[in-house]
């Protein structure tokens, strides 16, 4: 499917393409807010907006893992992100047990878990050339299986460290603390992807595997590293989720998997790989969260929420697709 004939793109045209989608998403978010503000009381209050952004931050951070893998190309997709977070949260909750001292140990465990899971995904997909969709799905099954087995017959004990709670759940004034994390992560991501050779290599591999290989880049290694980074980040996300929710439970992360992909798509990143603008992805996450809030606020319940979610996603995909068609 990703054999769409490439055509020469001029730099100015690419910049225009790059920012056009971000502007579109931004306008859509504004429209949603305007619509919400005119029909619902309190929709545009500062608290409500920051609450939306706070909830969207978690999706956005998961979407970063997703974007890195997708940008590496080769139909890369990481369906195990949420499950990685769950297993980290479940395993570290009892270690932290509401105290700050074991936080370092918890972080180390999270890093180790993340590297292991990410490497497993990376080796299986890039070195054994197995389809990422199936591999990450099976890994997700295995992780959920471990969690189920660990949870079976006993309650998950333990609470997150107060530091984690402060970072993930608390507000500074009206400003959610998780937003500082998101801003920090965004800056680092933008610098690495746009200003260092690492970003160039990742996008190069995603855009054209063959060219990258002929230029002396170890394509397999790059994709393997992309999966490992995704594993580590999503494992750390497990700690933040635990901090936000206060307790660990066995389905805590799995709800973020599909929204993370949706945010990447709405953010205007091609699933074919080779590109990725994290700002767009963040806007995509905010758009999804605002839409969810609106649909819930209208009392449409689950049915309306999912139907609206699906229709909007389908419409946006169609809109994006229409300017990608070459025939």
């Amino acid at each position: 499917m990703n054999t769409v004939m490439s055509r020469p793109k001029f730099l100015s045209f690419r910049i225009y393409e790059k920012y056009k989608k971000i502007v579109v998403v931004f306008i859509l978010i504004v429209l949603l807010f305007v619509f919400g503000a005119t029909t619902l009381p309190n929709f545009l209050s500062v608290e409500q907006v920051f609450m939306t952004i706070k909830l969207a931050s978690f999706t956005a951070l998961f979407a970063l893992c997703q974007m890195i893998v997708i940008a590496g190309g080769g139909s890369g997709l990481d369906l195990s992100v949420g499950y990685t977070a769950t297993i980290t949260a479940v395993l570290t909750a009892s270690i932290m047990d509401g105290k700050n001292e074991p936080l370092l140990l918890a972080v180390l465990i999270a890093l180790a878990l993340g590297v292991m899971i990410g490497l497993a995904n990376g080796v299986l997909t890039s070195y054994l050339k197995l389809p990422p969709l199936v591999v990450t799905l099976a890994i997700a099954d295995i992780l959920q299986g471990i969690v189920n087995a660990y949870v079976a017959g006993k309650a998950i004990t333990g609470r997150p460290s107060p530091i984690l709670v402060t970072i993930a759940a608390k507000f500074t004034g009206k400003f959610p603390n998780i937003l500082f994390v998101l801003i920090l992560v965004t800056s680092i991501t933008m610098i690495i992807l746009n200003k260092t050779k690492w970003g160039q290599i990742l996008f190069g591999v995603g855009a054209n595997e063959r060219t990258a290989y002929l230029s002396g880049i170890n394509v397999k290694k790059v994709r393997c590293i992309a999966f490992t980074v995704s594993g580590v980040l999503s494992s750390l996300m497990g700690l933040l989720l635990l901090g936000n929710m206060g307790i660990a439970f066995k389905d805590m992360g799995s709800n973020y998997v599909l929204p993370s992909i949706a945010a990447v798509v709405i953010g205007g990143v091609s699933l074919a790989g080779g590109e990725g603008n994290y700002l767009g992805v963040i806007l995509g996450a905010i758009f999804l969260q605002t839409l969810t809030n609106l649909l819930i606020a209208f009392g449409l319940g689950d049915a309306g929420k999912w139907l609206g979610f699906g229709i909007i996603l389908f419409a946006m995909l169609s809109a994006y697709a229409s300017n990608r068609r070459s025939r």
């Binding site: 054994l128 959920q144 299986g145 189920n148 079976a152 319940g301 699906g310 996603l313 229409s322 068609r325």
Partner: protein, 338 residues
Amino acid sequence: MNEVSKTGNVFYTFKGLLLKPEVSSFLIFIIMFVITATLQESFFTVKSIVRNINAFTPLILLAMGQAVVIVAGGLDLSSGAALSLFTCVLTTVMKRNDPVTGIYAILVTFAVAILVGMVNGVGIGYLRIPPVIVTFATSYMWLGIALFLRPTPGGESVDWFRAFYKIDAVAGAPAVLKTIGTFIPPALVLLIIGCLLWFIISKTRTGRYIYAVGSNIESAYVSGIDTARTQMLACIINSVFIFLAALFFVGQNQSGDARMGGPLTLKSIAAVVVGGISLTGGRGSVYFALLGALTLSFVNKIIFFANIPNAYQTLVSGIIIIVAIAGPAYVMFSKPKQ
């Protein structure tokens, strides 16, 4: 000297044979079949065969439909949600005391099935959105509509609908049909209908177009094949397979459930992969999806018989999928250098 190269050659061909996805998936199937047959003492009795067919049919039908889409270069993440939607439509149209409504329900649901296939097909074929993401979006649409129709599991079903599950259970059924039903379960009939459907399609031009589009969409397009239409047809065929599975489900449970099909989506994809069909499209036989689904179902049975606690089942099935798809790849990479 001559002998050495000869044995090397034999070794290479053996590995080459194992390398063929069809052969390795068939071997895995045989192994799972033998293990299940040894573990279950009553495996070869009519009763247990019928029960197994009943248990495996939905996944087999979904996997075969999925295989058609995958061979055409697509992927359907919405098949489970579509299955749930069809059961909800069936049970909404049917009224318990009015046998005619069963026929209406079948017609309406069939129309819905065609529509569902067309929407997926428009996304994959005409708009050329990546299949993973467009069917992900439509899966939410199906889920939403299904929840509108049936917020909680339930609904009505006419009595004769049980014939899709067990002819015995229908009060007014002729005795001849009942006797046949004990040996040939309706589920098997549905499976045969599915296989026949694909058999007929694979003999037509559309069948060949599906493979052509899946293996190289650009050259298929340049050769004058309407690629978008072909992919849409593949999606519609998939929908018909899901429709057959929905008939069986409602026959079995007499109710609709908006969330019932969800877990089956990923299983159906896994079954296709275990059946040796390439996810990149264009390669593999749709019938092998049946084999893949059977392998996965046997694995579940083995897990059951091995007395592995419920909690470990997801874990074990995940590991087995990895082993099943990584095994052939490992053989490929350990092959002697020429």
